[in-house]
């Protein structure tokens, strides 16, 4: 059942359960329930849906896409074993700085989220939170077989199997684990995709927000954060 739904959502990007961020039935904007939060904290967090803006076209957008592809700031959040492969990229042997890639410690400023392999449910919670805090346009690179279909943890009770269900992914890098060269190739591919204007993960996330949220809530049982961490 869920598989069917999954494939459909992938094949058909317009698959939206409800138009998010646009006015609801009575012309009022939809408001998130934030049920996971204690009553006194609800006022501290935003309750608006993410807005799906766009489409983005034109010369200016092409130019900006070029700039985006040349200045990829990675969020320094290592999840899973793959994070260890990011370190060599900074060293003089692989030197990712020459492609304009650099690590950034805060989600607010970074534009690329590297999912470094398996994500346990506990980590997934942090991944979702960090991803939502990044400023669009944001890109996700997923390393390792674990992110693609579970890898060697495919039957584990605590690691999710396909990261695509929970956040949109732009580039996958296969391997267990991929070498730094593979990572560089992946980043180059990401740059090409960005320049072609195909990396609209943030828009996709906003459009299919409810589908992603439902998936996330299905595995994260103690949802004690806002529904949309802005």
């Amino acid at each position: 059942m869920s598989d069917m739904k999954f494939t459909r959502a992938l094949a058909d990007p317009d698959h939206a359960l409800k138009p998010a961020g646009r006015p609801g039935p009575l012309g009022k904007p939809l408001v998130l329930a934030n049920d996971g939060l204690p009553e006194e904290e609800k006022a501290w967090f935003c309750d608006a849906y993410p807005t799906a803006s766009g489409p983005y076209k034109g010369i200016l957008e092409n130019f900006l896409n070029w700039a985006r592809s040349k200045s990829l700031w990675i969020l320094g959040f290592g999840t899973g074993c793959g994070a260890i492969e990011l370190r060599p990229l900074m060293t003089s042997r692989f030197d990712m700085y020459r492609f304009g890639i650099q690590p950034r410690p805060t989600p607010r400023q970074s534009s690329v989220f590297v999912i470094g392999g398996y994500a346990s449910v506990k980590t997934l919670k942090r991944i979702v939170r960090s991803y939502e805090q990044m400023m669009g346009p944001k890109f996700v690179v997923a390393l390792g077989s674990c992110t693609i279909n579970g890898g060697m943890y495919w039957d584990s009770y605590n690691t999710i199997n396909a990261i695509e269900h929970y956040i949109p992914v732009d580039v996958y890098i296969a391997g267990c684990m991929p070498r730094p060269e593979a990572l560089l190739a992946g980043f180059k591919e990401l740059q090409r995709k960005i320049r072609r204007g195909e990396c609209e993960g943030a828009v996709k996330y906003a459009e299919n927000f409810e589908w992603y949220k439902a998936n996330q809530k299905k595995v994260i049982h103690d949802w004690n954060m806002p529904d949309y961490n802005y």
Partner: protein, 176 residues
């Protein structure tokens, strides 16, 4: 050849000392004697270091085996103290007063096996699993594959090959 020290042999009902390696032995005891025995080993016999504490699920026999691994730095010897407790409503006396780090292991065992340690600090808080709602995942009746299939959707088209036959087919096709 190591022997059980006399003061321990006369005070507790201990099983035979099983020598696994030159630097590792195990000792079976009754679960109610464990705290006292551990204290005696720590204070009089030099086993001052707690390496770890863990549980093994003997599903067929209906018991959990708890292992407390101690280490004696002077003699470079590890001693595993083992005891058995029933699987139903498994409860064990907490030993966190002997070694402070013990409560972490006990919290872990509570979460992963469902063994309760009344009085152990923060024993009911979640440890590695957040918001776990099923039976403790390390109990053998828990089917991790079934749980994973039920909970985590996969990408269709995954297939598994037996590594041995697969490599044989690839490398030595003539041998098949």
């Amino acid at each position: 050849m190591r022997t059980i020290p006399a003061d321990i042999a006369e005070r507790f009902e201990v099983g035979p000392l099983v020598e696994k390696r030159a630097d590792l032995s195990t000792l079976d005891v009754d679960s109610k004697d464990v705290p006292e025995l551990l204290a005696r080993l720590r204070d009089r016999h030099g086993y001052r270091h707690l390496s770890f504490a863990t549980a093994t699920d003997l599903f067929e026999e209906g018991v959990f085996v708890l292992t407390y691994m101690l280490h004696n730095h002077e003699e470079r010897h590890s001693l595993g103290v083992k005891c058995r407790i029933g699987r139903e409503n498994a409860t064990m006396e907490s030993c966190h007063l002997l070694w402070e780090q013990m409560w972490t292991y006990q919290r872990e065992m509570k979460e992963l096996f469902g063994i309760d340690f009344p009085g152990s600090p923060r024993v009911d808080e979640s440890f590695v699993l957040e918001g776990w709602i099923d039976i403790p995942p390390m109990r053998r009746e828990f089917d991790t594959r079934e749980y994973s299939e039920r909970t985590f959707p996969t990408r269709p088209g995954r297939s598994t090959k037996d590594p041995a036959t697969h490599m044989k087919e690839k490398l030595y096709p003539e041998a098949l």
